[in-house]
Structures are given as structure tokens and as C-alpha cells.
Subunit: 286 residues, 2 copies
């Protein structure tokens, strides 16, 4: 079972299928960006078959191997994941996964941090609420496409506070006293209204009243799609869930491919993409 949605200048193909089965049918070196949030170990057992932490790596590696094949040499793979606590400790399957993926040829280029402003509540005697997740960036080659200007942000509190009262030493070049090599000529930033972001994303999870809770908020795939693709490129999400990735990609005129095993979630994807098709003109203003 699969569905094809044609929009003004892009298409979205979604498959109600195990992603491993579906991936083998994809052409090699055809994807510009893979972004996904796979089922975490032992989570979502109500809807998906729970994967035991001790078997997580061996379950996931065949999939990353196929993802490596289908990704373009200039493409990027963003993996949203966080290890669970087991027996009072953080489990090590994510660390092991990174080490094993490197053996497959992946470069572990970067680790972005997603700070979840509205994290899960709760209180325990030995730990606080977990308020961040990893966004691991992998690449096939050292040179990859990255459109940094597309995600510049308004200069925020940092600049406002820092630039308000410039000391005399700030206005002239200040050879870094700590020898970091990062020469800071603060006055260069006066008058600018845009700055490059950092590798920390501050986003809240969306808690809608609908039947499915999205793994990540729309702004998360949106940010990475802006950063790593151009219009007309192709985005892949092997664990589509409620379909956020394909929905956002279509809104941004990127082609997209998605796999979702559970029929219930697949149907939600179909609905939201169909709705986007209807209201194409409005949403493409995105």
C-alpha cells in the first residue's frame, strides 16, 4: 500500500511498509537529506513492537546500511535519538550505534542538541527531568551541501546585552587573551540584525489534542530541511510516524519519501498530506 501526492512543484511518496523492505527498492545515491526519529528502545510498546535496549544496535544497523546506500555523497543524515534509563543508568546503545555506524563508513560530523522546553514531568530521588535529546549528524563525505544563510536568526538577547555597553577594549580588536584563536572583534556585530545559530535548538514539543502525538515539532524538520536542502531536492524519513517530515517537506517544495509500518499512523499521514494538497496555495507560502 502506497500513496503518491503531487503538488505544484514537488511530490511526496509514502509507503505503508517496513522501511527495510522499502529501502531496498530505492535507487542508490538519490536522497539529499534523511531525517528521522526511529522508535526508541522499549518505548511506544503500545503501538510498535518494543525493541529491547540490548538488541537495539543489531536491529538498527541493517537499516543504516541501506540509508548509506541511498544517500547522495553530498547528502546528510540527521538522527533524533536518546538513550533510556535502565536499572538506574543511561544505557549505552546510542554510543555503540555511533561506533558501529562509523564502521559502515558513516562520518559522525556533528551532534546538535535539542533542548525540549516542555519536557516530560516527574520527580525521582536520583535524577531530574530529562530535557534534551541528541540530533546526530552523519555524512558520507567530508564535503556536503549546507546552506547556512537559510537558517540565520534575528540577533537576540545575547547581542542586545553584549552590544549595549561596549567597552573601549571591545571596540578595538581584542587579541584573544585565552589563546583560543577566536579573535573577537565585538564591534563587528554592531548593527547586524541576523546571526548564525549555534548547534543548540530550543524547541517545545507540540502537544496537540489529536489522536497522534508527533515525535518532533514541525519546526525541527523545517530547520534541517532549510539547512541541508534546496527546492526540488529529496527528503527521506524511514520512520514517518504521523508524517511531519513529508508534510513539512511538501510545504517547502522538496520531494519526499516516507515509510510507516503501522496502518493507523499511515492513515494519518495520508489525511494530512491530502489536506495539504487541498490548501496548497496557502500552505506553500510557508
Amino acid at each position: 500500500m502506497s500513496r503518491l501526492f503531487e503538488f505544484d512543484s514537488c511530490v511526496s511518496k509514502i509507503f505503508n511498509q517496513n522501511c527495510l523492505d522499502g529501502l531496498v527498492a530505492l535507487e542508490s545515491n538519490s536522497i539529499d537529506l534523511i531525517i528521522t526519529s526511529p522508535p526508541y528502545a522499549d518505548q511506544r510498546s503500545a503501538t510498535y513492537t518494543a525493541i529491547k535496549p540490548d538488541h537495539y544496535v543489531e536491529w538498527f544497523l541493517p537499516i543504516t546500511s541501506e540509508l548509506f546506500r541511498v544517500l547522495k555523497p553530498t547528502g546528510t543524515f540527521i538522527l533524533n535519538i536518546k538513550e533510556k534509563v535502565a536499572n538506574g543508568e543511561r544505557h549505552t546503545y546510542v554510543l555503540e550505534l555511533i561506533l558501529e555506524m562509523k564502521k559502515q563508513g558513516w562520518l559522525w560530523t556533528e551532534e546538535f542538541m535539542w533542548h525540549k522546553k516542555n519536557c516530560y514531568p516527574g520527580k525521582w530521588p536520583n535524577r531530574f527531568r530529562d530535557s534534551w535529546e541528541r540530533l546526530l549528524q552523519f555524512n558520507k563525505e567530508r564535503k556536503f551541501n549546507m546552506y547556512q544563510e537559510e537558517v540565520m536568526v534575528p540577533v537576540g538577547d545575547w547581542a542586545q546585552n553584549r552590544l549595549k555597553n561596549l567597552s573601549e577594549t571591545d571596540k578595538i580588536r581584542d587579541p584573544s587573551k585565552v589563546g583560543s584563536g577566536f579573535g573577537k572583534n565585538i564591534s563587528n556585530w554592531v548593527g547586524r540584525d541576523k546571526a548564525y545559530p549555534t548547534n543548540v535548538l530550543h524547541l517545545a514539543t507540540e502537544c496537540s489534542n489529536k489522536s497522534h502525538s508527533a515525535a518532533f515539532p514541525k519546526s525541527l524538520p523545517e530547520w534541517f530541511i532549510k539547512l541541508f536542502t534546496e527546492k526540488g531536492d529529496t527528503v527521506l524519513d524511514p520512520f514517518l510516524g504521523s508524517g511531519t517530515t513529508c508534510l513539512v517537506a511538501s510545504s517547502m517544495k522538496r520531494n519526499s519519501i516516507g515509510f510507516e509500518l503501522e496502518e493507523k499512523y499511515f492513515n494519518i499521514c495520508v489525511e494530512s498530506l491530502a489536506q495539504l494538497n487541498d490548501s496548497n496555495k496557502q500552505l506553500c507560502l510557508f
Copy 2:
């Protein structure tokens, strides 16, 4: 060469010595909190003998072994560390270190994230400014001392509006026993003004004039000393640097022990601790 500083109700001992040599002289099970920021691989090569990333783990493991011995069973080890980017990739020595430390008997209890709020908005062709660091928590036993009430934070602004007018359902509602199990009993929140923090620390890096490059801001050891120790406990920093840990510990009436190999930095430690001794009364109001 070593120095002993006696304060009103605590002492600080610092040694101008390789920490491995010094640690063997310490008593087993005598330390309540170890907090340190070791020399990063290949970093600070101007000041420390550079440790090559590929040899980082084998260099550090003998030290963590001694740290395991000297830590009390109820104690905690906080390790501030971040992997270096080498050849366009994040190096894996931190991941490997965690796995090897577990073999020594350490429990990897938690990974706090330090978000460095004021890092400069720079960039490289293929990455953004790195604005976070790992704060790895290790323990010897599943039960350890943790004084969570000491680090509570003000409740967010939402509470003022939310709790202003409680509806009847807010007061009466039974915690739901279905689904996630999270019943909300909003009336529990009336009158509360403090909440427990999360595992993300938003701290600015200190722009001090110190000539040492890897010093963390005072608020960082301060937070962990509050969280994991009581007055009269003993804090250890095997890589003292400019001495922040001992300085803060002394201000907070905790005993402290520190090692610093470089004479230049050791002298800075001596100076700042001597100054604290002079101005003891003011600073102990901390």
C-alpha cells in the same frame, strides 16, 4: 610543592603535582564529589603536553581507576568533557571512555548538558558554533547522596495565569489511572513557587581576565557542589587549572583537594585561595 589553606570551617589542600602521583596518596572512600574538566585531547597544547585523541582513553583510564578508589560509595563524579573535531568529524574518544569506565565498575548515571549561553556567533563552512558541553555523571552505587531541594528554581510564568482561577474540575479531578498514568491535580500547585530543575544547565561562560583557557564559570561547580554535597564534605578536582573548584568549595564551607601540574596555574590557585582567606568573612556569605 603543596599548600594548605585553613578557613573558618573547612580546609583546602592543593598540590603542584601530576594528579596520578598525588591520587595514590589519598585514602580510599574519602571523597564526596569529584568535579573536573580534564585537558581536552589536542587542546590547550600551548599550556599542557598535548594528548593525542587516539591515546586519550588509555591516558585517562588509570586516573579514573584511582578516582573510583578514592570516591565514597555515596559519592558522585562529574566529568566535563567534549570531544574534539578531527578531520571534519567528532572524535569518538568520549564514547569509548564511557564504555571503558563502565568496565572499571562506574555507573553512567546521567548526562547533563551545559548550554553555554553567550558563546560567540561564529561559524565554519560546515558547522556552526559549538555552544554546549557534556557533563557526565558517574557513580559507584545506585544509591548516592543528592540534595535536590538545594537547587530548586522559580516556577515558570505560566503558573501565575494558570493557577489564578481554578475551575471546579481542577480542584476535584481524580488522577486518571488510564493511559500515560499522568493525572493532573492542578490544585496541588497552588502556593508553590519553586520547581525542580531539569538536566540542562543554562550558564554563561565567564569572561574573566584569567589567563587559563579551560576554566569553567564559578556557577558550574557551585551548582553541583550544592546538589551533591553538604557542608563539611570533601570535593576533589584532579585537574585544578586556575582553581575554580577549590575556590568555590571553600566559599561554600566544603573541604577541597586539588592537583595542578603546571606551576604557572598552581600559583594562580595559591593567589586566589590566599585572597579568599583574607576576605574570608565577606565571601563566606556566599
